[in-house]
């Protein structure tokens, strides 16, 4: 068994988990809420992309810009019409409402798309790879996936740290009341945050659809991976989330190499170990 290869594959898979996680981190960072339907929205995005590919014949990568716009608008609308009604100090309403959404999405997909596994096809790019020497090779697609995750992290870092919008996000996150007294229109701002989250979900959905064969029931697993990556990395920066995704990817790849039944379990155990040793996450800005 080649451990270096396992770690490389895990790192690349971690890029996908980081894409899963960054959308969740945006919403948690701004609203302090967890969207239980996050994974189901990733699965939904993959189905939407599949539908667009089938209708237009476009390459899956070219569908991404369209998917970002559609999902971003959808996220904004969802936050303004439904999720803004769950704001407040009680943590139960957002959890229950997003859990309800999760059930609805999964079963609507089950009803309209059947349970058969689907996947997005890349054509020749799917098998292309870069030789590293020593018998190692990196798949072109997994590499694109990791690079995309890095680009998304850079863009989110810029939005949150260098723009007026980001300043408002951080203000609301620190103290919603004071921020609204200072003129921040929080409800609209939450709409923007969810729009950004859903734009990342759209990207994550397309990459997930290429990487995995997917079916409607996968959503909850993806939510857990996203959540674990966010917690392992620690709140505070999207670089932490990226690192969290990669650690989770490596943990799963190593577990899977040891025994096919241990892959997901190994990821969960690394997550619990981080919780025990450093509950604020490995890369948290303030412990």
């Amino acid at each position: 068994m080649n451990w270096l290869d396992t770690v490389i594959q895990g790192t690349l898979l971690g890029g996908l988990y980081a894409l899963f996680a960054m959308g969740l981190a945006v919403i948690y960072g701004v609203m302090k809420q967890i969207n239980i339907a996050h994974g189901d929205f990733i699965v939904l995005a993959a189905y939407v992309a599949l539908g667009i590919v089938a209708a237009t014949g476009l390459h899956p990568f070219l569908v991404i810009p369209l998917a970002i716009v559609v999902f971003g608008a959808f996220g904004y609308f969802l936050q303004r019409t439904v999720l803004n009604r769950t704001l407040g100090s009680d943590i139960l309403p957002p959890l229950v409402v997003t859990y309800g959404l999760s059930i609805v999405i999964e079963n609507v997909l089950q009803q309209t798309q059947s349970g058969d596994p689907k996947s997005l096809k890349l054509g020749s790019l799917e098998t292309a790879s870069l030789p590293l020497g020593g018998g190692l090779a990196i798949g072109a697609f997994p590499l694109i996936m990791l690079v995309t995750a890095i680009v998304v992290a850079i863009v989110l870092e810029i939005v949150f740290n260098r723009t007026r919008l980001g300043m408002a996000f951080r203000a609301v996150s620190d103290d919603r009341e004071i921020a609204s007294i200072m003129g921040v229109r929080d409800r609209r701002l939450f709409g923007y945050a969810t729009a950004i989250s859903f734009a990342v979900i759209a990207i994550a959905g397309v990459f997930m659809g290429i990487k995995f064969t997917f079916s409607p029931s996968l959503g909850p697993n993806f939510l857990l991976y996203a959540f674990e990556a966010v917690v392992i990395g620690g709140m505070g920066s999207f670089w932490g989330t990226l690192a969290g995704g990669i650690i989770l990817g490596i943990a799963q790849a190593v577990g899977f190499a040891l025994n096919p039944g241990w892959g997901i379990l190994a990821g969960h155990l690394v997550f619990l170990a981080v919780l025990l040793v450093r509950p604020t996450g490995i890369f948290a800005r303030s412990a």
């Binding site: 957002p94 409402v97 309800g100 609805v104 025990l276």
Partner: protein, 332 residues
């Protein structure tokens, strides 16, 4: 505590005494159940009681303890598997194994709480789910527990069908009394007063001398015990267990819907919610996905429009209190 003006403390409101009569009739009716109910009806009642017990425990945890867990299926599964290990492999009487399985679940809750209790709010919620998944995957990897395929409760072969069904049924009546009655007794006790204070505001409760951390741990362990017993009885009734059935995600909507649609933070809510859930399931489960879509939408609408649930709305409108757990202060 001294009170400046004398007030009369009342514990009964509309419906309080009615409950006593209803409860006695229901319990007597149920105890004699094996003599007049069909096997099919008895199985349904046992299943109903198990779900109600799980709902009451989730309500205690979430509605009173403020510990929003979406991972109580961990204790349903541990209770279930503990029963199979105790009865099949250690040869302990399967009926006696049900409460023992609850104790095993409570034992598992102690170390688990150490991992989870550092987290708050949404983090705690999703982490409980990860823990349940860890237990599911661990069990699925242990061949002595039947791996992913599961095991049958062979220990039950020693009992004749009639005996088996009757004792399972009486265990269910005991579970009903222990959970619903237990939560009632708990809430009327000193601890219950602390819990109610905790439900309304944990900061205020702490400032009044309530040891919030200790009480939360106690509630977590009690809920694990009750949920573990309910899980054990459920799989005693089912006679077969598998990791997906025991630790699966299907338990979550069940707890969410019964407690939230019924009315969280009340004893009556979960009863009403479980009755409603059972009725809807018997009527509409054939519609499969549409039924689940409707249930999901119903939970969203109730949470946003009627966060106190159906019972909560009715109780406020008509002043009902079937379980007198509150203290009403009146002018003398």
């Amino acid at each position: 505590m001294s009170v400046a003006t004398p007030v009369r403390v009342e514990r009964y409101a509309t419906g309080g005494r009615a409950l006593l009569v209803i409860a006695i009739v229901v319990v007597l009716g149920l105890i004699s159940g094996p003599f007049w109910l069909s096997s099919e009806a008895m199985r349904l009642v046992v299943e109903f009681v198990c779900l109600l017990a799980m709902a009451q425990m989730w309500n205690l945890l979430v509605g009173y303890g403020g510990l929003v867990s979406i991972g109580q299926q961990a204790y349903i599964g541990i209770g279930g598997y503990a029963l199979f290990v105790l009865a099949n492999q250690l040869g302990i009487n399967p009926f006696l194994s049900v409460p023992l399985a609850g104790l095993v679940a409570a034992l598992f809750a102690l170390p688990t709480s150490r991992v989870l209790f550092g987290l708050s709010g949404g983090y705690f919620a999703v982490a409980t789910w990860v823990v349940a998944e860890v237990y599911r995957l661990l069990v699925a990897n242990i061949s002595a527990l039947g791996s992913g395929a599961g095991v049958s409760l062979t220990a039950m072969l020693a009992f004749e069908k009639g005996t088996r069904e009757s004792i399972t049924f009486w265990l269910a009546v005991a579970l009903l009394l222990a959970t619903t009655g237990g939560v009632y007794a708990l809430l009327r006790s000193r601890l219950g007063l602390a819990l109610t204070a905790l439900r309304d505001s944990d900061v205020a409760a702490e400032s009044q001398g309530v040891d919030v951390a200790r009480i939360k741990l106690l509630v977590y362990v009690i809920a694990a015990f009750g949920t573990g017993c309910a899980g054990a009885l459920y799989f005693l009734n089912a006679l077969r267990i598998s990791p997906d059935a025991a630790f699966g995600m299907d338990w979550i909507p069940l707890l969410f819907f019964t407690v939230i649609i019924g009315g969280i933070g009340t004893i009556e809510g979960p009863i009403l919610g479980t009755l409603l859930y059972f009725t809807l399931r018997q009527l509409f489960a054939d519609y499969g996905t549409w039924y689940l879509i409707a249930l999901g939408l119903l939970a969203i609408v109730i949470m946003i429009r009627f966060p106190r649930g159906i019972y909560g709305e009715l109780a406020t409108r008509f002043g009902w209190r079937f379980f007198p757990v509150q203290r009403i202060l009146r002018d003398p």
